[in-house]
Amino acid sequence: MFGRAKTLLLGAIVASFVLQLLSGYINPYYLDVLTGIGINIILAVSLNLINGYTGQFSLGHAGFMAVGAYTSAAVSIFLGPHFLSALGNGNAAISVLFLLALLTGGIVAAIAGIFVGAPSLRLKGDYLAIVTLGFGEIIRVIFRNIPSLGGALGLNGIPDYTNLFWVFSFAALTIYAVTAMVNSTFGRGFLAVHDNEVAAEAMGLNPTKYKMVAFVVGAFFAGIAGGLYGHFKMSIDPKGFGFLKSIEIVVMVILGGMGNTVGVIIAAIVLTLLPEVLRPVEDYRMIIYSLLLIILMLVRPQGLFTPRKRALAERKTT
């Protein structure tokens, strides 16, 4: 019996395949934007599991992306030639290599997720945000100090494997995974731990388990996004995975409404398009961005797509 959710997932993967076949007809600029949208959807939805649903304020998501990017690039660059020479250079071999690279990146990022998630078990709110930010920066500094991965100058020569099929298939998979996990009796626990941890514990929920699962799964998909990003830009450097990148992803989650997957997807699309739309005023882009951030928080802290009622739920009284 193949449930509705899995059918949708399969349909999305097939649609991605079709989209990829048609990609020859799409203007290369739009192709780039579409790829960017897909990657941001994966980043935002995966962070939403950690921030939005489980309520663990993580400001270090870009760190997981970095781990995935560098790990998968290392697989492609260092293992790739041996792999391909053994299996031939055909499309099938490249696909297998790429999948392997991405999954390796995701798994290593998931392991990083364990380390970053561990402090979350003891810390909350502001403190947790600072610690996750710290981890993100530590990861960045580590990569900046590894000469074989390019060091401060970045890693070049990453093969151009990313295409719309991969990006949107993984986007669909991420959405499926996060939604499926949360929509189950077990998965309601994420929300419960977020809403009232003391009560959740009293109901037999193990907050540690939920927080760790959230971090590990969220990190895994961020790692995948990193791998897709690396094989798209063909060159990565530590500066691009810093605190600012983490903030960009957090803004998508907040804009979409914490814990609102559909809203977050829309927000990811909007925020990917925004820099393109603001190109004429490129110089002022960051100023406008920071002002929008402030205004958004003051005027609509619950995000653009969450109704007022849910907003009142989020308000804490002193």
């Binding site: 419960a192 009232n196 959740a200 009293a202 109901m203 037999g204």
Partner: protein, 259 residues
């Protein structure tokens, strides 16, 4: 198979100290299967502290807490719930942003085999289990007259309904012992009568023991089979409602000693 022990919960010589303050002192206390016991005492007597020790929020500084013969000391709250103890809170702690149904549903998680992987794969077993939980949730809500609030956010319920939901949620964990922390607080007279009926009903239907902390004497005297009285962290009296009501130490504790 041997007969299950009569004694369910046992506190032996429990002392709880916070820095220089002794909240509970050398407490010996037992609850048997399917007993309805009340724990009363003036404000600050240590009643909620006892609850918190039983449920693992605090560790006893001295002494032991055991359940069905097994010591609970050092266990985390969620592990203690797994042993079969559930509780409600003095200040209602519902999952406010979640629906009424989800509040109860999440408490059933312990009786669901599926975890992360099943949730991702979503096979037949998973769907059957989810259906079973859904129907148990609906049934539970009906029993507690909360059926019409199935999808309402829990925090928009009236105070009385919220209290009932908290009890329903605690019961969804299928406990052997239910701890109720001042369930009648903020209720009017007719709501209190309803509550008394509800607690009696729960005890009979689910065959559980109930430990009740409560200030309202009518409620306590009305339903409890046995009452223990705390004052300044010490047990000063224990017995049937009739005995406790007449006990001079108890009267003195509540009215204050006039020397």
């Amino acid at each position: 198979m041997s007969e299950p022990q009569r004694t369910l919960l046992q506190l032996t010589n429990c002392t709880i100290r916070f820095g220089g303050l002794t909240a509970v002192s050398a407490l010996n206390f037992e609850i048997d299967r399917e007993e309805l016991v009340g724990l009363i005492g003036p404000n600050g007597a240590g009643k909620t502290t006892v609850f918190n020790v039983i449920t693992g929020v605090y560790c006893p500084t001295e002494g032991d807490v055991s359940f069905s013969g097994e010591s609970l000391v050092g266990r985390k709250p969620h592990q203690i719930t797994a042993h079969g103890i559930a509780r409600t809170f003095q200040n209602i702690r519902l999952f406010g942003s979640m629906s009424v149904a989800d509040n109860v549903r999440v408490a059933f998680h312990r009786h669901v085999a599926s975890g992360v992987l099943s949730g991702l794969w979503r096979g037949r077993a998973f769907h059957n289990e989810e259906k079973r939980v859904a129907s148990e949730v609906t049934e539970m809500l009906e029993i507690f007259h909360l059926g019409k609030f199935h999808d309402t956010p829990a925090q928009s319920l009236s105070y009385g309904d919220q209290r009932r939901l908290e009890i329903a949620r605690a019961l969804a964990t299928k406990p052997k012992l239910l701890l109720l922390d001042e369930p009648a607080a903020g209720m009017n007279a007719s709501e209190k009568i309803e509550l008394m009926r509800l607690i009696q009903f729960i005890k009979d239907k689910y065959k559980i023991a109930v430990l009740l902390v409560e200030h309202d004497m009518k409620v306590v005297m009305g339903i409890c089979e046995r009452i223990a009285v705390l004052d300044y962290g010490e047990k000063i009296a224990e017995g049937s409602p009739a005995d406790v009501r007449k006990n001079p130490k108890v009267i003195a504790a509540y009215l204050g000693n006039e020397n």
